[in-house]
Amino acid sequence: MKDTNTRETLLSMENVNVSFKTHRGTVRAVRNLNLKINKGDTLALVGESGCGKSVTAHTINQLIPMPPGVIESGKVIFEGRDLLKLNIKEVAKLRGEKISMIFQEPMTSLNPVFKIGDQIAEVFMTHRQISRKEALKRTVDLLNLVKIPAAEKRINDYPHQLSGGMRQRAMIAMALASPEPGLLIADEPTTALDVTIQAQILRLISDLKKDVNMSVLLITHDMGVVAETADRVVVMYAGRKVEEADVYSLFDNPKHPYTLGLLNSLPSNEKYHNAERLEAIKGTIPDLLTIGDGCPFENRCPDAGPKCSGTFPEETKIGEDHSVWCHYLENQEPSK
């Protein structure tokens, strides 16, 4: 994927800040976030609980509950338009036609009292002038495309009659039923699934991306999932972007102490074949209510220095498509 920089940009976020007002104070969930998704790419947003990855996705889709949520500043440019300036109707239209989303638990986003065939056909009928019969026929084609066996029969099933993996496939089919599936936001799409089913769904998303030429924003906490599917990766920590790179550079040469720590924490890491202990990141995630303007990773970072608590670092470019936000890159021992 060396040509990522020359590709056409589908969506870009500029200086996005999102907060939540609670009775205990303001939670600064996403801070000064810039990111860009190219046409046909999979961008993975990876990080642990509270890092702001889901809030980012919901900002794009305008699903942030307001209140308590506030989008304080920033732009989300999709096909030349700032999504944050659209009215509710326009957003709804966009959501149906070009941006779709799948969730961790598909059961909550499928309507339990309607047959899945009807739910998907409904998407066809809303956006195109076609008959119900035609819509159902296309639904069957789609279900075949997402490899649901015996699709003709399955369209008459209710969501609870499908297994978790099948439901996630149905959700993907519904996303594909929109007229111009441009961007698929997948929020932890395989976290609730068994590992063999996860492998199938990840494979399916990759295949479809190529066939339909759609872009995917993949939200996940799992570095393994990132390695399997992403083209580019953004690592987030406590609301901040700390490292961004194409997937090969990131895994070859992780630079930010947090990225390194995250990879070292994984028991599946190759280097642990005969190790006694894992290299854990010490401490816990900071409280987003009380966090200052410095680097949020400071309290857990092995390389932290005096600069870290004052300001958040500037971007350091260390490769063609690889940037890190860290004050003390030089402190690091060469890894691997």
Binding site: E48, S49, S163, G165, M166, D194, V195, T196, I197, Q198, A199, Q200, L202, R203, H221, D222, M223, G224, V225, A227, E228, A230, V247, Y248, F251, G261, L262, L263, N264, S265, L266, P267, S268, N269, E270, Y272, E276, R277, L278, E279, A280, I281, K282, T284, I285
Partner: protein
């Protein structure tokens, strides 16, 4: 050879579901279906499998928190389902459990100090000072500041809560600990801390662990021996090092293959992933339960369940390919 602390023989735990229609035959879930294995003193037995494979039911049955339908579970030579009230209390002292969900496994209305004092009080310790000292010592042991005794569980993060859960399990100086998905709900960086803690405790006190998880990498890292389950049955078991190198059962292979590597190199030409869904444990497929998803299925696989056979010392597989 170390002695066996736990011996499970032909264990079956079935659950009868309420019949859906009046008069229809009630459905039976064979959650644990004819399992036999031993656990040696001081070993870490990892049990891995996907949802519905019965691994959690197995853990709870060994703790006598579930009923058993058939078979025997003998702990240090005595059948745990035959223990009387006092013997059961002693057994509860020796065998402890750490649960998956650090949100629901700690009573939200109890302060940490009370949560940790509870096991001591149940087992007859009354001296306040003694209890307090013990709590302080254990809290330090698991890495929680004893000054936080007066806090409620919700005032801690997930990782800290899991440490509290572990502390509670340690209060009675157990010998045997069953960890049921004990690190699955935690963030990776926190998960690593808790795994290290569990290993430190193992080295220090010589606990015997059964470590139940769906995450192959975690089980592989922590265990000394691994048992792979599929739909209530053991499909393969071997020492960790052996299993990692030579997994023989097609399901074990599929598991290892499906597990995402933390390296994007070579992902384009990865082996084909195993197809099909995990079948419902209510109506498992005939013969070998894995045959509908197995690329090597033969006629006999559809008809008869293969026995768990030793293929090399300590390595058992239940598959017709190795008959």
């Amino acid at each position: 050879m170390k002695e066996n602390v736990l011996e499970v023989k032909n264990l079956k735990t079935y659950f009868t579901l309420k019949s859906e229609r009046i008069g229809s035959e009630p459905e039976v879930v064979k959650a644990v279906n004819d399992l036999s294995f031993e656990v040696k003193k001081g070993e870490i037995l990892g049990i891995v499998g996907e949802s519905g494979c019965g691994k959690s039911t197995l853990g709870k049955t060994i703790m006598r928190l579930n009923h058993k339908t058939e078979g025997t579970i003998s702990y240090k030579g005595s059948e745990i389902f035959d223990l009387d009230k006092n013997e059961l209390k002693d057994f509860r002292k020796e065998m402890q459990m750490v649960f998956q969900d650090p949100f629901s496994s700690l009573n939200p209305r109890k302060k940490v100090g009370d949560l940790l004092a509870q096991p001591l009080k149940i087992h007859g310790m009354t001296d306040k000072k003694e209890i307090d000292e013990k709590i302080n010592a254990i809290m330090r042991e698991v890495g929680i500041n004893p000054a936080y005794k007066g806090r409620f569980p919700h005032q801690f993060s997930g990782g800290q809560r899991q440490r509290i859960g572990i502390a509670r399990a340690l209060m009675l100086n157990p010998e045997f600990i069953i960890c049921d998905e004990a690190v699955s709900a935690l963030d990776v960086s926190i998960q690593a801390q808790v795994i290290n803690l569990l290993l430190d405790l193992h080295d220090k006190y010589g606990f015997t662990y059964i470590f139940i998880a769906h995450d192959l990498a975690v089980v592989e890292f922590i265990s000394t021996r691994i048992l792979v389950m599929y739909l209530g049955k053991i499909v393969e078991t071997a020492d960790k090092d052996v299993l990692v190198k030579t997994h023989m059962h097609p399901y074990t292979k599929a598991l290892f293959n499906a597990f995402p590597a933390t390296d994007p190199q070579g992902r384009e030409n990865k082996e084909q992933v195993v197809m099909g869904d995990v079948p419902s444990p209510i109506k498992p497929p005939s013969g070998c339960h894995f045959h509908p998803r197995c690329p090597h299925a033969k006629d006999i696989c559809r008809e008869k369940y293969p026995e768990l056979k030793e293929v090399e010392p300590g390595h058992k597989v239940a598959c017709w390919l190795y008959e």
